[in-house]
C-alpha cells in the first residue's frame, strides 16, 4: 500500500530531513513511526500525502508515484488518505458537524448521504451528542476525536496520524489508540507517528524507528 524506495528529502537550506528511506507497508497493516522530535517523522508523513516532494527516490501509494504527481492531481490523492494532525486543524468557526462534513462536501455528496455518514463517523468516535458544538467548546481529546471522525468519514484506504496523542494524557491516548486499532480491523492501513514509546510498548505491531533522518529500526510484529 505504502512503499518508500530510497527516498531522500532535504529542505531548502541543505538540512537533510530524510536519507535513503526504504520500507513497504502492506494493505491493512498498522505500524508506528517512532523517533525523537526532528527525526523526520512528520516529513515522512507529509511525503505520503503530497505536502512535500522527495528530492530523490520514489514514494508509492497504492501504485501511484506521489512524487511524480502533477499539482492538480494532488487533491485527488488526498481524498484517499485520512490525515490526523497533532494540532487537529479544525475549522474554529464551524460546528463539529460541519467540520466532519467537509470532506464529503468537497466531493459534492448529497445532503442526505452527508448526514448519514457524518452521524456514523461521529458515533464511532463517541461525539454524536456534540454535533452542534463548536471546537472551542470541546476538550483537547474531544477535538482530536473530531479530527479522527473527519479523517474516516470518507472511508479512506490509508490513515496517517501525526502525533495524534501529543497533547493528551495517558487515558485519552489509550482511547485514541484503541480507536485506530478498531479502524485497522476494518481494513484501513494505519501509520501513526508518535514519540510516546510507553503507549505502544505492549502492542505487537510493526515499529519503524527514525533517527536523524535515517531508518534505524524496522521491528515487525512477529519479532
Amino acid at each position: 500500500m505504502i512503499r518508500f524506495k530510497r527516498v531522500s528529502k532535504a529542505y531548502s537550506g541543505g538540512r537533510p530531513a530524510l536519507q535513503n528511506i526504504d520500507f513497504h507497508l502492506n494493505k491493512g497493516e498498522m505500524a508506528f513511526l517512532t523517533g525523537h522530535s526532528g527525526a523526520g517523522k512528520s516529513t515522512l508523513l507529509r511525503l505520503i500525502c503530497g505536502l512535500e516532494r522527495a528530492n530523490d527516490g520514489q514514494v508509492i501509494l497504492n501504485g501511484h508515484d506521489v512524487s511524480q504527481l502533477k499539482k492538480q492531481d494532488i487533491p485527488f490523492l488526498r481524498r484517499n488518505i485520512g490525515m490526523i494532525f497533532q494540532d487537529h486543524q479544525l475549522l474554529m468557526d464551524h460546528t463539529i458537524y460541519d467540520n466532519v462534513a467537509i470532506p464529503l462536501i468537497i466531493l459534492g455528496k448529497p445532503l442526505e448521504e452527508i448526514r448519514r455518514r457524518v452521524s456514523a463517523a461521529l458515533d464511532k468516535v463517541g461525539l454524536i451528542d456534540k454535533m452542534k458544538f463548536y471546537p472551542i467548546q470541546l476538550s483537547g481529546g474531544e477535538q482530536q476525536r473530531v479530527g479522527i471522525a473527519r479523517a474516516i468519514v470518507n472511508r479512506p484506504m490509508v490513515l496517517l496520524a501525526d502525533e495524534p496523542t501529543g497533547n493528551l494524557d495517558d487515558k485519552l491516548s489509550k482511547d485514541i489508540l484503541k480507536l485506530f486499532e478498531e479502524l485497522n480491523q476494518t481494513g484501513v492501513t494505519v501509520l501513526m507517528a508518535t514519540h510516546n514509546l510507553g503507549l505502544i510498548r505492549r502492542k505487537h505491531r510493526r515499529i519503524l524507528n527514525l533517527n536523524q533522518g535515517r531508518l534505524t529500526g524496522d521491528r515487525h510484529a512477529e519479532d
Binding site: C49, L51, F76, I81, L90
Partner: protein, 320 residues
C-alpha cells in the same frame, strides 16, 4: 414507479451535473454566510464600488443628453451654393443634377434668381432699394441638405471644396461655426467621460480585489484545512469568485438607482432653466440596454479581479 425514481436518484448521486450543482449551491451558501457575518463591511465595500460606478454613469448621461440637445436645438448645417449669373437654364439644371448625385447629399433646394429676389424682399425690408436697380443683383442659389451621416465638419468641408470646383459655381458657403463649436464641446465631454470611466473601472477592480484579498486572508486557516483534505483549487476559489461577482452585480444595481435619483433631481432644475429660455428639454435616463451593459461590465470586473486576487494567493507556497 417510486422505486424506479429512487434508483435513478441513486445513480445520479455521483454523476457530474448534480455534484456540480451541489458544489455551486455550497459556494453560494458560503457567499451568503460570509455576507451576513460581515454585513457592515460588505455594505461599505458595495457602497464604495457603487459610487465608483455612479460617477462615470452620470458622466455618460450628461454626454448623451448634451449630444441630444445639440441635435434638437441647433439647425442642421447646410451648404449654400451661389450659381454664376451668366449660366443658362439648361446648364443650371445640369449643375443641380450633378450636385444631387453626390453620395453625401440628402436633397437640394434650388432657388432661381427671381425666387431669391422675392425672398430677399420678404425678409430684408430693402424692397424699395432693390426697385432702384436696373437689374436683379442676386444670384440663383442651391441649398444643400447633407445626409445625417455626413454632418461632420471634415466631410462638409470636403463637399464644399468638391462643389466649388464645378463649372458655373461662384462660391459655396458653409455656416458651421455653431456646429463646429458644439461638436468639439461634446467630443471633449466624451473624452472626459471615457477617461473617468477607465479610472473608475480600475478603482472598482482594485476595491473588489482588495476586499477579496482580505476575505482570503481572514479565511487562511480554512483554506489550508480545505487543501489538506483534498479540495481542488477550483473548489476553494469558487466562493471568492462568486463573492466578487456578487459585489459587482449588487453595486451596479445600486449605481443605477443612484444615477436615476440624480437624473430625477437634476431634471426638475433643467426643466426650470429650459422653460426660462423658452424651450422644453427633458433629461433622458438610462435605457434597458445601457443598464444591462453596466450590470454585465461590473459583474465581469468583479469576477476578474477576484480571480486575479485568488489565483495569486493559491500560487504562493503557504502550507506549513
Amino acid at each position: 414507479m417510486l422505486r424506479i425514481r429512487k434508483n435513478n436518484q441513486q445513480r445520479d448521486d455521483n454523476s457530474f451535473f448534480p455534484r456540480w450543482k451541489r458544489q455551486i449551491h455550497y459556494a453560494w451558501q458560503n457567499v451568503y454566510n460570509d455576507f451576513r457575518q460581515h454585513a457592515i463591511a460588505s455594505l461599505l465595500t458595495i457602497i464604495v464600488i457603487a459610487i465608483s460606478i455612479t460617477l462615470p454613469t452620470i458622466g455618460y448621461l450628461l454626454w448623451k443628453n448634451a449630444n441630444q440637445a445639440a441635435h434638437q436645438w441647433y439647425p442642421t448645417p447646410n451648404l449654400t451654393v451661389y450659381i454664376n449669373k451668366t449660366l443658362n437654364q439648361k446648364d443650371t439644371d445640369n449643375l443641380i443634377k450633378q450636385i444631387t448625385q453626390f453620395p453625401e447629399v440628402e436633397r437640394v433646394n434650388y432657388l432661381s434668381r427671381d425666387e431669391t429676389l422675392q425672398e430677399f424682399k420678404l425678409w430684408s425690408g430693402f424692397s424699395e432699394a432693390l426697385e432702384l436697380l436696373d437689374e436683379n443683383p442676386l444670384p440663383a442659389v442651391a441649398i444643400i441638405m447633407p445626409k445625417d451621416e455626413a454632418k461632420q465638419t471634415a466631410i462638409l468641408h470636403a463637399i464644399q471644396t468638391e462643389i466649388v470646383k464645378l463649372k458655373g459655381v461662384d462660391d459655396v458657403r458653409l455656416d458651421d461655426s455653431w456646429f463646429t463649436r458644439l461638436t468639439t464641446f461634446t467630443d471633449m465631454v466624451k473624452t472626459i467621460v471615457w477617461t473617468i470611466s477607465i479610472f473608475m473601472m480600475i478603482a472598482v477592480a482594485l476595491v473588489i480585489g482588495n476586499s477579496i484579498r482580505l476575505a482570503i486572508f481572514s479565511r487562511r486557516q480554512t483554506i489550508i484545512v480545505m487543501q489538506l483534505i483534498g479540495a481542488t483549487d477550483g473548489f476553494i476559489l469558487r466562493p471568492f469568485l462568486y463573492s466578487g461577482m456578487f459585489n459587482g452585480f449588487i453595486s451596479a444595481i445600486l449605481a443605477l438607482i443612484l444615477s436615476e435619483i440624480f437624473i430625477f433631481r437634476i431634471d426638475a432644475i433643467i426643466l426650470n432653466v429650459s422653460s426660462v429660455f423658452g424651450t422644453i428639454f427633458n433629461l433622458e435616463g438610462l435605457n434597458w440596454d445601457e443598464s444591462l451593459f453596466i450590470i454585465l461590465i461590473a459583474t465581469m470586473i468583479g469576477w476578474l479581479s477576484a480571480l486575479l486576487a485568488t489565483k495569486k494567493y493559491l500560487n504562493m507556497p503557504h502550507i506549513n
